[in-house]
């Protein structure tokens, strides 16, 4: 991991010096992880792709501003999270609530071809994952960030703290609160479904 991290910094240094290929390498290395993070934050594949593109564009424009004080991964994560939050704010202003739309079940298609399932179990699975998706996206942004970074990106507490520039204790506190709220929301949803 140390070797990979120092390689990222070296590659960024080359990109800052004008090597166009070098930034391409950064994109290749991090594209899928940034996509996974964006998908977790936004819930829609199309939006996640756009956010991923915008993340790397923003990173390219701000290359000179990267001083190597943080890891490249933390830097990219911070940009990605900000891009996702900006997108969500814009969508809210436009009155779009993509993640609450009924048709979203189809658009949360898997990045890879899903395994074949029977119709009944596929419907059940979709219902369950749809509920989780709604619950996660109903969380306040600061809680959603940490949950997505932990569960989708599988970052450590320390990595999340570095990426978001918050104390370690705050990361744990937010994760605890997020899990608590998710449990309550999922329980409420389950009660509503059972009551139908």
């Amino acid at each position: 991991m140390e070797t990979a991290a120092s390689s990222d910094e070296q590659i960024v240094a080359r990109a800052q010096a004008g090597d166009a290929e070098a930034f391409g390498e950064i994109v290749r290395r991090w594209e899928r992880r940034i996509f996974a993070l964006s998908f977790g934050m936004l819930g829609r594949e199309e939006d996640a792709r756009d956010a991923t593109q915008e993340t790397f564009l923003a990173a390219f424009r701000n290359l000179r501003g990267f001083r190597g004080e943080a890891k490249v991964s933390s830097w990219l994560h911070r940009i990605a999270v900000n891009q996702c939050i900006t997108r969500q704010r814009r969508a809210k202003v436009r009155g779009e609530t993509a993640l609450d739309e009924e048709g979203e079940a189809a658009s949360s298609a898997s990045f890879f071809t899903p395994a074949e399932k029977s119709p009944a179990s596929a419907a059940e699975s979709r219902e369950r994952t749809e509920a989780v998706r709604r619950a996660v996206n109903a969380l306040p942004p600061e809680l959603r960030q940490v949950i997505v970074m932990k569960e989708f990106e599988e970052l450590t507490f320390q990595e999340i703290a570095s990426a978001l520039e918050i104390p370690l204790s705050t990361v744990k506190s937010r994760l605890y609160t997020a899990l608590k709220q998710l449990h309550l929301r999922l329980n409420n949803m389950a009660s509503e479904v059972a009551g139908r």
């Binding site: 395994a115 179990s121 899990l179 309550l184 329980n187 409420n188």
Partner: protein, 275 residues
Amino acid sequence: MNEKLSREQQPAEASSSTGQCARAAELVSYLYHEASPAEAQEFEAHMERCASCRLETIEFVQVRRSIGDWRTEALGGVTSSALDAAAAHSFVPINGPIKESAARQRSALAAIREFFMLSPGWMRAATAFAGLAFCVLALVAFTHLSESTPHMPAVASEKSPAEKIYSKQEVDQMLARVKLDNEASRQPQALDQKQVKTMVATVDAPTQHGPARQPPRRIAAAPSPSLANYSPVRHGSSNMSPRERQQLAEVLLPQESRDEEKLPRLSDLLDNDSN
């Protein structure tokens, strides 16, 4: 935000709170396997005495499993480390390797076909005879080998799931996990600290995503709880016959690909060629 939540909470039953213990940070560290061994041991000891922390740990494990299922479905089960490994070398288009191997197959078939078209009759006959003789010898050797090998105890093999025979220990482990999950959903307060520890340890099991970050195996038609059954009473499994155990094991274990690539046999090619 808190006001909003309390309005939503009103119709639901009140759940226990760890606020009494003020061990939220320790619980989270333990849940995500980021506690040191000493801290983990200390928290486990605490859970033996504290029902509210035990209950909350169970609730959070269930939430994590739900998120893991969502993640698996959304991202096709690709873990971050698997993504990193792929990206670290070079980004290969998803269709690239598939197209490459298909092209290789076609060129191999085309080469074999060309060989038979260009060869004289006697060479084709000789090749066919040699192939046939090889097949017969292989069959005889296999028959002889299987007759002389003593009967082996039932062990997990590389056969398809329908043909696999699992050991009693493996089936018991799988059943224990299913039973524990059922119990956690039905009566979480009744679980003791050891059972909670098992749940936490298996939350990142290979079926979803794990601390070792192995690519998760897919579960074929696993009896997963529906949304309506997120926390209501469910009937757990009672005494099961060995046959029922085996059937349950087949359902629970990952489904391996049954479709093997069928390379064309020499006799098929010869038949095509003679036609």
